[in-house]
Amino acid sequence: MDSRLLLDLKKLLGSDAVLHEPEDLILYEYDGSVEIARPNCVVFPRTKEHILGIVEIANRHKTPIVGRGAGTGLSGGALARRGGILAIFSKMNRILEVDIENQRAIVQPGVVNADLSSAVAHTGLHFAPDPSSQKACTIGGNVSENSGGPHTLAYGVTTNHVLELEMVLPTGELIRIGSSALDSPGYDLPGLFVGSEGTLGLLTEITVKLTRLPESVKTLLAIFDTLDDTTETVVDITARGITPAACEMLDGYTLRAVEAYVHAGFPIDSAAVLLIDVDGVREGVESQAEEVAEICRAHRAREVRVAKDSRERDLLWKGRKNAFGAVGRLSTTYYVQDGVIPRTKLPATLRRITEISEKYGFPIGNIFHAGDGNLHPLILFDARDENQLKRVIAAADEIIQFCIEMGGAITGEHGVGMEKDRLMPLLFSESDLDLMRGVRDAFNPAALLNPEKIFPNAKGCGEIHIRPLPVAGASVA
């Protein structure tokens, strides 16, 4: 590590805001994915002037810089793939302004997703994107990854809730794009920057829309004896034009793990369940819940339970949101993909995943956003076994390949990061990727900011690092 770089950073931020000892850095070499990459130093900026200063120092020393929120990302987006400075936004966590009347909030990027919703809950508003990691993940991370969550089925993902961004470009300028009022004239730059996985700029301020909480919510748990009945139910709900607020599927394998861990009352002998929220004005919710229950029964649901009160509802959702952690108790390692498919292809895809599970001999748990076709197959394996490692990647690739054959996409919400860059050519031609790279290079010309992410790089092709699981309890979208 270049000591002059460290000196510069310490001078800017104070020495307690700069970590560089190996034992400190080891905490920051991974995120929620299976990837590993160690930064040369970790810094904790507190102001936008700090961000400007860090970028200036990075440029002077020609050192890569990567922004990071809570590190809950699932594709290695916030890892320092080429080393360098990892800038953690946890100290830029102030809610700067809440405008109830106009349903807007201005936040620093390090504000935790759930904290914003809690801060405005008394006004009947919330920040709608709700990744399962929402108690830890930051809004800056949500913006970078265009995060989803169970309730984005009805409310839209992060990009649908972002109005204005202030950021520092890797070239050192502080810019503002978009506007708090709607329809900012010119190109939709926020539309480009949201979901650009931290490759275009380092956020300093985010203006988001706040959404009114629904007057009434009903949570249904539909229990099925076969996977096919479960997936056919989702197809039918979608085809009938019903958009629940959320429609999540948990297969039997995951259910049993979740139940042992959370005790939410999930039936452990079933093939799968659907966890469905309907919301809106009271009068509509009643009839919509009944309609959804009818469809479930028509597809041979063994039972359709309606949560009696908010306590029961919260418990069911706790089970869902902690499912990845629960599965983590069954195996030393899992590998999760988040391919997307057209909803009509759910039954065929789940059957294919079962075949792939059998073919490779890995248990695969499925717990996912069924309502928008966003799969999360969790492949359980032992990373200590080199051979298993190779085979798990082959199995995951086979699932993604199938998603794409079905007309789907590589990632629905976890991002490409450094995990799925090698898969990009399955979906995009070289000229498609070149145009995207051109955009990246226009804003990030020296590749100083979050290098070697999203776009396949011939050098790194095929290599993948797997690390042991985090402790049980980590939650995932």
């Binding site: 405008d99 106009n102 807007r104 990854e145 265009n146 984005t152 993902v157 990009t159 649908n160 794009i177 978009g178 708090s180 009022a181 709607l182 329809d183 900012s184 004239p185 010119g186 190109y187 939709d188 730059l189 539309g191 480009l192 979901g195 629904p214 197809v235 979608t238 085809a239 034009g241 004005v281 009271r282 009068e283 509509g284 997307v340 498919i341 057209p342 909803r343 009509t344 956003h369 928008d372 076709g373 990632t411 629905g412 919400e413 976890h414 991002g415 490409v416 990009m424 979906l427 995009f428 031609s429 000229s431 498609d432 990727l433 070149d434 995207m436 955009v439 226009a442 804003f443 999203i454």
Partner: protein, 465 residues
């Protein structure tokens, strides 16, 4: 005209066939953009032909302006150069429609009407209820970035366009997004194409999320003696649990427009005129649902209307609502046809500043003695139509003075103020893109990546892009 652009037809014939190239000035006048005619118009019949045309234009540095039904080509600055009109209307196929998945993929030149018919067979629709709905194409609608009354509930195109294909640069076929409802694979480049007025390339294919048709809907119309009371009700509804499908405020002048000769010419069915008043502000709210929901809305809206001292309240049933909705949708075409020099200022503000913005604009228009009418979306988007009685030097001066006053006030109110529609010859004197923006440099970077040669609709966009 450059030599290259004179020679263009022969080369274009090779690409698309002579019958799909026009170079006759009489035919070309249909492609005029702010009075400027291209040297030729070409109508490709395939993606490959689009690519060939762009490659040719790039090689010869000819300027292209893509177009569909040409209903919104007058939005934006006059083009700096215009050699080839790239008419996309032959690319009008529905390429994929999966009603069960509620996804749709179409060629850019397909008319909205045709899409609506295909979706209606499965009781679905696209919430692109934009001005000129009966003629407009998907590509033109997306490129022009116009909004719709339905944005109140469904958002704008950026909320339901899932992916796109486009031809950019020197004839490179490219794409972003996909055809699934949730996707973060790669940059969302297609969002940049929305409202870009064809300055980044030509859109060839658009993928959408579709929506189920409404079982039953109603309209609630309340008239108010003044703006204050109308806004008071707007605020009550906005803070309630109700989630209307449309929610717009109409100024007194809007009733004149809807009852005028232009509306009669343009509209198929007549406006239920008794519900809007030429001397009153009118709040119009569309909502949908099952009977119990409709009843709840009506009861609550009636209560709120009474609290806000509404004068007249009317509830419109399904059929009459459709007619009334069409008037709101076509507010801009009707306004454009209602004066020889209609100038429409679009003012986007935070909802809390809508009242003041409307008051300021009305005062500016009244001071300068220009008749006006306004439609304001509850979300904070105001279309303020100045309707001079004649197109003259005097009315030009009045409009310039009025818009400058609105712009100056808008700057203090944090508004985005633009002038999407006005007479072409007035554009140079009007700040049609509003005040200078600090993010212009970033937009210029984007333009350079997509269109390094500057051949796509040069000069039509913000800041001379």
């Amino acid at each position: 005209m450059t030599t290259a652009s004179k020679a263009a037809p022969a080369r274009l014939h090779d690409v698309v066939g002579a019958e799909h190239v026009s170079s006759d000035p009489a035919e070309l006048s249909a492609y005029a953009v702010d009075g400027k005619l291209p040297a030729s118009a070409v109508r490709p019949g395939s993606n490959e032909q689009v690519v060939e045309i762009v490659k040719y234009a790039a090689a010869e540095k000819l300027a292209l302006i893509p177009s569909g039904a040409r209903t919104k080509l007058n939005i934006g600055s006059p083009p700096l150069r215009y050699d080839i009109a790239l008419d996309m209307t032959r690319l009008d196929r529905i390429l994929a429609y999966d009603p069960g998945d509620l996804t749709l993929s179409v060629e850019a030149g397909v008319p909205l009407r045709k899409v609506a018919e295909a979706l209606a067979e499965h009781r679905q629709f696209l919430p692109l209820a934009v001005p000129y709905f009966d003629r407009a194409t998907v590509g033109g609608t997306i490129a022009s970035g116009v909004d719709t009354p339905l944005r109140q509930f469904y958002g704008t195109a950026r909320d339901y366009v899932l992916g796109m294909e486009f031809v950019v640069g020197e004839g490179v076929q490219s794409k972003s997004g996909g055809n699934v409802v949730k996707n973060v694979t790669g940059y969302d480049l297609h969002k940049l194409m929305i409202g870009a007025l064809g300055t980044l390339g030509v859109i060839t294919r658009v993928n959408f999320k579709t929506f189920p048709m409404l079982v039953s809907s109603r309209g609630f119309v309340a008239t108010f003696e003044n703006l204050d009371r109308a806004i008071d009700m707007r605020n009550r509804v906005a803070q309630s649990p109700l989630t209307p499908m449309t929610f717009d405020l109409l100024s007194p002048g809007a009733a004149y427009l809807f009852g005028g000769p232009a509306a009669e010419r343009l509209m198929k069915s007549s406006m239920p005129l008794n519900v809007v008043s030429p001397s009153r502000w009118t709040l119009t709210i569309g909502y949908f649902g099952k009977e119990a929901v409709l009843a709840r809305y009506e009861a609550e809206l009636r209560h709120m209307a009474a609290e806000s001292a509404a004068e007249n309240v009317t509830v419109l049933g399904d059929r009459i609502l459709a007619a009334a909705f069409a008037y709101k949708r076509e507010f801009i075409p009707i306004a454009l046809e209602s004066s020889p020099a209609t100038t429409i200022v679009k003012i986007s503000v935070l909802p809390s500043r809508m009242k003041e913005s409307l008051a300021v604009a009305a005062k500016a228009a009244n001071t300068n003695q220009i008749p006006w009418a306004a439609m304001a979306r509850s979300l904070g988007v105001i279309f303020f139509a100045l309707l001079p009685v004649e197109r003259s030097q005097a009315s030009h001066r009045q409009v310039v003075a009025t818009t400058n006053q609105i712009l100056a006030a808008g700057a203090n109110l944090g508004a985005n103020t633009t002038i999407p529609w006005c007479p072409s010859e007035w554009k140079s004197a009007l700040k049609i893109w509003g005040p200078e923006r600090s993010d212009l440099a970033q937009m210029q970077k984007v333009k350079k990546v997509f269109d390094p040669l500057g051949i796509f609709s040069p000069g039509r966009f913000i800041g001379g892009i």
